[in-house]
């Protein structure tokens, strides 16, 4: 809230303040003037102190929908408390350089970036965006946790999220690589995480081909979009990856970038601005693109879905539902699949609960992420569906942890494309 908004909000208090005695008025003015001196750190810092304070003093109005809190059931995972610890680390009330305080530092990374908090926040905060500013200061002090350093090392050496270049595995996975001739309509931008699901990539390629789209995949030249480093806040590495992606995108000449990973879409579309890169090409998620292809008649679902894939529950990826604000494409597509029975879980669309596998939480505390995944899977199981459909590789990865081996025989977690390809 800016100064003018603050003044407008508290205008009603002015007549009341006006009638106060001189000493009270003078104390109040002193308190207004001394706010920074009283409560802000000395020296230079990157932490968003103003908003960390607001968040930590809030009675936790988003707590009921915070995935990590609901998974852990411990007060220390509540959003306001995370902000409180972030504030104490920033002002030195908790000394981040002391080894004994590592658990407080770890807390700054135990967030799945699902941003349910933002839906309910009276200030419109995403708590993770506040925690990221604390991470910035920790990084500057050389206090990045080892589990984040490990990710950085992998990304530096292979430029993907694995210890090997996951894009180079396309041949062994039977994925066709299409190199650009510099004149593509579409750059099919495959996420590093999606490479773990070759059937999804194959389905997407097949669908694009069936729609007659001229596209490339450029897997020999691909690098990670940089979302993980933006979460960890290694902004130099993020800029390096962004530049590489920018150059490759330029080379394709594509009019549109279509990705199967919502994290990639958000990174290319919005988060690159944090490192001064502007992708001038439209970036959309492949679900939105397929929906356009269906609406324009380029893709025609016509075969009846077989019995085993008939009963479907939707798991909206957080990033698509809350950041890209598109909850209709996935539904429009499923609705035109002949014979499909679509079942909505209680928590859906912009109110969806997270799969547990986004952000930095699964590095900082894998058990916590598995608990969150299990909660979400249980909600999906309540629908009675045996097919859980998503459109994000991280969701498909996370939800997989929520099912035991016996359940995996009865329930399938699929990407939308895997279902769509069966009826085209």
């Amino acid at each position: 809230m800016g100064v003018f908004e603050t003044l407008a909000k508290y205008k009603w208090m002015l007549p009341l303040i006006n009638k106060a005695d001189r000493e009270t008025k003078s104390l109040l003015m002193k308190n207004f003037r001394s706010k920074k001196k009283n409560f802000y750190p000395e020296g230079s810092y990157k932490a968003d102190i103003d908003n960390l304070i607001k968040c930590m003093l809030c009675p936790n109005m988003c707590r009921f929908d915070c995935g990590t809190l609901q998974a852990s059931k411990t007060e220390s995972m509540s959003p306001s408390y995370k902000a409180r610890v972030g504030y104490y680390l920033s002002v030195g009330k908790i000394d981040p350089t002391k080894a004994e305080n590592k658990e407080f530092i770890d807390l700054m990374y135990k967030c799945t970036n699902e941003e349910n908090c933002k839906v309910w926040c009276p200030f419109d905060f995403s708590v993770v965006s506040l925690l990221e500013t604390v991470r910035d200061d920790l990084n500057d002090k050389g206090l990045m946790p080892n589990y984040c350093r490990d990710q950085i090392e992998k990304l530096k050496s292979t430029k993907t999220i694995e210890a090997y270049n996951i894009y180079k595995t396309y041949k062994e996975k039977g994925i066709q690589n299409i190199e650009t001739d510099g004149n593509d309509d579409v750059f099919y931008y495959i996420g590093c995480e999606t490479m773990k699901f070759p059937d999804v990539v194959k389905a997407n390629i097949e669908l694009l081909k069936k729609a007659g789209i001229k596209f490339s995949t450029n897997l020999d030249k691909r690098v990670c979009c940089g979302a993980p480093v933006l979460n960890i806040r290694d902004m130099d590495l993020a800029k390096e990856l962004a530049n590489e992606n920018f150059n490759l995108i330029e080379k394709t000449g594509a009019k549109i970038i279509v990705s199967d990973c919502p994290g990639c879409v958000l990174t290319l579309k919005e988060r690159y601005q944090n490192v001064g890169i502007d992708i001038n090409v439209q970036v959309i998620h492949i679900v939105e693109y397929f929906n356009q292809l269906i609406e324009t008649g380029k893709l025609k679902p016509q075969n009846n879905i077989s019995e085993e894939f008939k009963k479907v529950a939707i798991h909206d990826p957080c990033l698509i539902a809350r950041n890209l604000n598109d909850t209709h494409s996935i539904r429009n597509i499923l609705k035109v699949i002949p014979g499909l029975e679509l079942i909505e879980p209680i928590y859906n669309k912009e109110f969806v609960h997270c799969c547990g596998w986004s952000g930095t939480a699964h590095w900082a505390d894998k058990d916590l992420s598995i608990k969150e995944a299990t909660i979400r899977v249980n909600e999906l199981k309540e629908t009675g569906a045996n097919i859980f459909i998503s459109a994000c590789p991280l969701c498909e990865l996370g939800l997989g942890y929520g099912l035991d081996e016996q359940e995996k025989e009865k329930i399938k977690i699929l990407d939308l494309s895997e279902l769509l390809v069966k009826v085209i």
């Binding site: 106060a20 009270t24 304070i53 059931k73 007060e75 009330k93 658990e103």
Partner: protein, 492 residues
Amino acid sequence: MNFTDFELIYKKNRSTIKDKNAIKSELIKIIGEENVSTNEVDLLAYTRDSSMIAINWTIEGKIAGLPDFITWPETTEQISEILKLANKEKVPIIPFAEGSGVVGGAIPINGGIILDMKKFNKIIAINDKNLTVSAESGINGMNLERYLNAKGYTSGHIPQSLYTSSLGGWIAHRAAGQFSTKYGKIEDIILGMEVVLPQGDIIEFKTVARASTGPQLDKLFIGGEGTIGIVTKATLKIWPFPKKRTLISYAFSKIEDSFEAVREILRENVYPAVIRIYDQPETARHFEKVEKAKEKVMVVFVCEGNEKLVDIEELITREKCEKYLGINCGQNPVEHWFETRFKVTETSSMPTYKIVFDTIEIASLWDKAANIYHHVTETVDKIKGVLLITAHVSHFYPNGVGIYFTFGGVPSRDISELQFYQKCWNTTIKAVIDAGGSIAHHHGIGINRSSWMSEEWGDSLKILQEIKKFLDPNNILNPGKVFVNTWKGGEL
């Protein structure tokens, strides 16, 4: 860290725990290693509730109370065993769920074991024929309500703290929601409970619509604030989600006129779910853009339920408002209330300016209500440093009301913020008692009101204290609250 950098406020009466490791081992035997913590990152999280003074302390790096152990029991039997251990070792137990209480009730002022109820979060069953839902007490209010809404029901209990409070907290503090005029307070909504007594006995109160089976012992535990038992499960009334909602607002010249209009509506046996009367400063605060309400008293109504009944309620509501010369302000102010009712922002801003700010709700019969309003606002306004004392009235009965005062100010140089806070609280409560009111409507006693229990209860407080002694002879359950004057007339 060892918390040495944090000033501990409640430290005088900390219990002495000789062998923490031994107790921790015993706790682990009962609930498993994953459900016990003495980690500082956990301990710090349970050092306060949502009382405003504790929020002020947060930014100043002070902690209200410091627990020794955090536990997360998963079954009623485990709670029973923990209580038996606590009795044996004479260690305090502080029940905790969402920590949204505003009177210090969940602050571990003597240290001890926090019994976090968050794992008691299951919805056990909805019974459509009986119109009930059974749930474990640690469930978050919004998560219960969202589930009910998805199934076509509402509990009708929608406090402003809905997002951040629990079923157990509502029962502990005899809570009321924004829609209480139609659906009642929590004591009207609860039909059955399972309770663990301080020495570990588990008792169950049968779920009944009404009965005639001797004294209503179950009511003793509604409002117990975790001092005489721990509620683990409860069965609540539910209602089909309302088919129609009508939004009405009127502005009145004087608060007395608004009181009379509302009193006459209820006298007709008409119960709008929501009625909220805002005094002039609060009307300016919340309805600044409503021209017709300038310098007036705004009243908003929500009538809901069966379409035909709602139409009749609307008709009678309008008749009574117009009888007292209310100016029809349309439905926009009510829509504005719906949009902003959970947007709590003051707690986040006032402490940064060292403004001590809080709300105090009290109860009154109709014939005292206007007098209490004036007496409190006039008396508190005289306290040095007070900038504002305002009120809205948000809970109504044919016989009386719940008035919700808000005060804010800057402590003068010669007193601490706690002393100022206590002065505002004690002045308000005294003014309420002097004018014939009751000291709390729905936030409970906790620490903040405990010094006024003898004035409120008179001789009958002794009976309550004897019950506490009988049930909890070792005083292990949430000590320092409700029955004990922890503030001792201005000091800790």
